[in-house]
Amino acid sequence: MATIDANKPDLPAAGAKSHPLYWKNRGFAHHFRNADEQFDACKLGMWLFLTTEVLLFAGIFCAYAIFRMLYPDAWAAGSHHLDWRFGGLNTIVLLFSSWTVASGVRAAQMGNNAALIRNLVITLICAGLFVFIKLYFEYIPKLSAGKAPGTFFSYPYAHDPHEPLWWSVYYIGTGIHALHVLIGAGLLSWVLVRAIRYEAYGPTEYTMVETSALYWHLVDLVWIFLFPLLYLIH
């Protein structure tokens, strides 16, 4: 990348500490005036991106609200098929992971690489747990019972003709959210790999940790809205 330069102090050290990605070796791109400006720019960029994500989910929430208004009975019936305990468990898992990822950012700022790695690993386990619960206890049993979206709906004991629509909204909403969980987990894994290999993050360089964590909080936030709307309100 020809135009991305760095201030490169000479650091004769072994292993990760000599690597250009080691946090003390890191500079900033040439078109910024200083590292702070670069950090601010990256954070602003991430916030803007999160805005777009919120608006993406806004479409689904909007569809939910409109069909709920049109077919309240179908929504009540559909909601009764969801077990709030699995949803609640997943909520706890995600909230906990939000806490660990925030602790990870703190660890990076303090220069505690071991704590950063530990927190990221716990966060990733939580992400896996969330997807596992979603798939194994919710999607698979429901789909095999015929509670599928749209024309695939074949559940024989449906109360309301518009229940297929409920399942469409349910699968699209939670499905796109689960996709975001996976994307967030991918981002955090990348951070984790660089933290392990290069000790890439420390007090002067934690942009990537901070922005990935912001993304992860968004994933959490969306679930905080999905959970009561789908599981708790009948």
Binding site: M1, A2, T3, I4, D5, A6, N7, K8, P20, L21, R26, G27, F28, A29, H30, H31, F32, E37, D40, A41, C42, L44, G45, L48, F49, T51, T52, E53, V54, L55, L56, F57, A58, G59, I60, C62, A63, I66, F67, L70, Y71, A74, P149, G150, T151, F152, P161, H162, P164, L165, S168, V169, Y171, I172, I176
Partner: protein, 587 residues
Amino acid sequence: MSTADRTHEPDHDHHDEGSYLTPKYGAMGTVWDWMTTVDHKKIGVMYLFAVLFMFFLGGVAALAVRLELLEPVRVAADGAITGQLFAPAGAESINTGNQIYNRLFTLHGAIMVFMFIVPSVPASLGNFFLPLMLGAKDVAFPRLNLFSWYIYVSGSIFGILSIVLGGVDTGWTFYTPYSTTTDADHWRVLLMVLAAFVLGFSSILTGLNFIVTTHKLRAPGMGWFDMPLFIWAIYATSIIQVLATPVIGITLLLLIFERLFKVGIFDPGLGGDPVLYQHFFWFYSHPVVYVMILPGMGIISELLSVHSRKQIFGYRAIAFSSLGIAAVSFIVWGHHMFTAMGELASAIFSALTFLVAIPTAIKVFNWITTLYKGSIAINTPMLYALSFLFLFSIGGLTGLPLGALATDLHLHDSYFVVAHFHYVMMGGTVIAFIGGIHHWWPKMFGRMYNEKAGMLGCVLVFIGFNLTFMTQFFLGTQGMPRRYASYVDEFQFLHTLSTYGSWLILAGFLVHLFNFIHSLVAGPKAPPNPWGGLTLEWETESPPIEHNFHHEVLVQHGPYDFDTVVPPHCDERDFPLPPQDQPPASH
């Protein structure tokens, strides 16, 4: 941050640098250099050629559409069909010709909207000039910029693929349930929807990049109200791109699910609601109308000011009206659906729609007042700016009967609407875009173009445009619906005029094309500041050096202080200052 190529020592002076266009490697190396460049100028130039190619494709489709409409389709007394140009020989019904026509107008709309006009000004001129005008070395996220260029390329490939596979007949709006049921055995519609979805990401990332750049990378000394109005317009555009595009993202995603899995959200058979699709679609697609026009308005502010050597009148009013338009654009989408909504919603949206007229009118008043007591050069960019004022005013004013409910119920989905949005989109954005390309051509490529040929092209386009679309206002009020492959005989005269006009537009664009090619091959070398502009891009070389400026830029004058500042690289004899007997006006 990249690990690659860390050899470049940080420095702030780039004295010995060549132009960004200078090839540094062999032929293949240069191609690879362009393909992997993170230089906003190269990305801007690649966008420029890509969107112009898309404009060409969409234009061919438009000419074909006009050609078919040269004659109405008639059943003669002996039962024979006449007037259908696209039907293959031996076709036994008018069906085939109609199918071809429907694919052509969809192709025209989809290419022009998603692949040409939305990325046109921001991605090409914006990419090139936003950092230059801010005095920055690049956009905030150069690699994201390259990434969004490749997203644009792949989205366009999806779109073209769907055309090659046989085309799409949904109209660019993809209204359900037609779009979920037509061509059920084929992937073409899915591909086109996917193309629009992917292109949306490119749009979001470009917008995001520009917002951050504007916030963080302004040169020292440049406050918000020292920014050129082009930047204000691009900034307002970017806000809309970031806030509106995700909604079309989810909408198109739902449409894809609908086609693939029949999820039923938009399918009335399963209790879904096709009007919900329209709400979602226009929640994006109305704001995106301003994504199309705002950058054009920004260009016009620059062109009028520089070529009349006059401080822009009411700088703040123009800057704030850009933001005002961006804000209002989000609450007027319902005016595309007056024939599909209840009375209350229609009334609310009609009232809100008239709000848009106010900031737009303010801009036009300010632009025209800028000419007062100017030193007005009549050249190609200025002619285009004046054409813009003429055509865009018509486009804006014909929005009034469309915003008023009683008249809209007649004019909705008629040729009146077609003419109205072509006056705004083509008479506005495209005219501004071509004017902007002429204005900045010397800066981008370091060569002058032939002024006489440019002005001839502009006049041809202007006359052809009015002939093509003025007639369509009358067609619309007389009762001609849009998206019709044929029509009743009574409309033939106006349709014929309109088709002749489209040929004149073609002639005008061909003149420009040859002019540009001639300029690249044999044009005289351009000075750094041929027009005497005061914005920062005129301070560097033509074409700019690789890192944009030789020195760190320090802003010392406003972008339009023509009364007090001799333009950089210019002689005071060519650009004299007025006698300073009265205190210079400040903005």
